[in-house]
């Protein structure tokens, strides 16, 4: 829409437009805030809310983020922080997937939970939060459990999937689904003072390597619980991975696992190579 483009170009100051201008443009030209944001970025005009992204993220990269579609599977400890960070970053479409409702034991760490939201669906709380902090971003709430049977539908047109689940068999199924659909998957897991992150590309099968010896049951999180800071740290690293994947820049944790020990403050990188690679096949 040429009129919208002219309006935004005319309102821009030092390459920035204010949130008030975005709202005014949406009302004046009867278009969505998302459309206004994409049009501005396409003109190399940066919405002012992202001005502190500048240098780290160029206007062109900001447009890539806006056009990005990310599915976050699990909206608990990790997922809540990932969703918050993706929306503040300006990722245009976030598909939040979780069948659960907030319970009191979530309050110690799950960013989207609050006493007023107890009993509310986690994805509904995610939608409300994102509408409040960045309504140029679209959050698609899916109140359902991920399963191999709905993977194709859930991840249609998605660029990156985030594994923020809490069960090994579901994580393994998700890793296989992403592998089959040709999607990169950013894995994060936590327990007590400890966490791990890796990014799996199609064909890598690295998440299966991480849980190589798993037979049944939960991990050390069952005994140690999860204090507030562990999901925040791990989710932050996962979001940085998503950001780089969408922008096509930097080095990801592909074939590498970052093992994080917050009790001794050690961040250790472990190279992950499949047994096949080890014997040169």
């Amino acid at each position: 829409m040429e009129e919208l483009r002219r309006y935004l170009a005319g309102e821009a100051k030092d390459g920035l437009i204010s949130w008030a201008t975005q709202i005014e443009a949406a009302a004046r030209f009867r278009v969505s805030l998302a459309r206004v944001e994409e049009t501005a970025l396409d003109l190399a005009i940066l919405p002012a809310r992202y001005q502190r992204n500048r240098q780290a993220i160029s206007v062109g990269q900001q447009l890539k983020l806006f056009r990005g579609r990310v599915a976050v599977v699990g909206c608990g400890g990790l997922g809540g922080y990932v969703i918050e960070e993706l929306s503040r970053l300006g990722v245009g479409t976030i598909i939040a997937i979780d069948p659960d409702f907030f319970e009191e034991h979530n309050l110690n760490r799950q960013l989207l939970s609050s006493p007023a939201r107890l009993g509310q669906a986690k994805v509904e709380a995610a939608a409300a939060r994102i509408a409040e902090i960045n309504s140029a971003v679209t959050l698609v709430p899916v109140q359902a459990a991920y399963g191999t049977e709905n993977a194709v539908e859930l991840f249609q047109d998605v660029d990156v999937v985030v594994d923020a689940l809490d069960s090994v068999p579901t994580r393994l199924a998700l890793a296989d689904s992403c592998d089959g659909l040709g999607l990169p998957l950013v894995h994060g897991a936590i327990g007590g003072w400890f966490g791990q992150v890796t990014t799996q590309f199609p064909g890598d099968r690295t998440i299966r390597l991480l849980y190589d010896r798993w037979v049944e049951g939960k991990g050390l999180e069952q005994q140690m619980g999860n204090p507030s800071f562990t999901p925040a740290v791990i989710a932050g690293i996962q979001t940085a991975e998503v950001c780089k994947l969408l922008m096509g820049t930097g080095d990801t944790l592909r074939n590498r696992q970052l093992c994080i020990n917050l009790l001794t403050m050690e961040f250790e990188e472990v190279e992950l190579s499949s047994p096949d690679c080890a014997i040169g096949q």
Binding site: G74, G76, G77, L78, G79, A164, L165, D166, S167, V168, R171, G188, A189, I190, G191, G192, W193, F194, G195, Q196, L209, L210, Y211, D212, R213, W214, V215, E216, G217, K218, G219, L220, E221, Q222, Q223, M224, N226, P231, C259, N261, T264, E268, V270, E271, S273, S274, P275, A278
Partner: protein
């Protein structure tokens, strides 16, 4: 023979972070697991010299062995 054993996360509790330990020749990874009294079901991944390994693998002098516990919370 000497084997460097490295433990991650909770496996360090009551044990050590990393140590070079002496074992009879041909000791298997499973024997080290039993010696360290690590419950087998808590192990998610085993690596020897940066490669995936299984408990039946025999160790060699100078090997570096690492045990990773199952971390799966979200």
């Amino acid at each position: 023979m000497n084997v460097t054993v490295k433990l991650f996360a909770t496996f360090r509790f009551g044990r050590f972070a990393a140590a070079t330990r002496h074992y009879p020749p041909s000791t298997s990874i499973g024997e080290v697991i039993r010696e360290l009294q690590i419950p087998d079901t808590e192990i998610s991944m085993i690596m020897v010299n940066g490669r995936h390994a299984a408990p039946d693998q025999q160790l060699r002098d100078g090997d570096s062995l690492a045990f990773f516990p199952l971390v799966a919370g979200g």
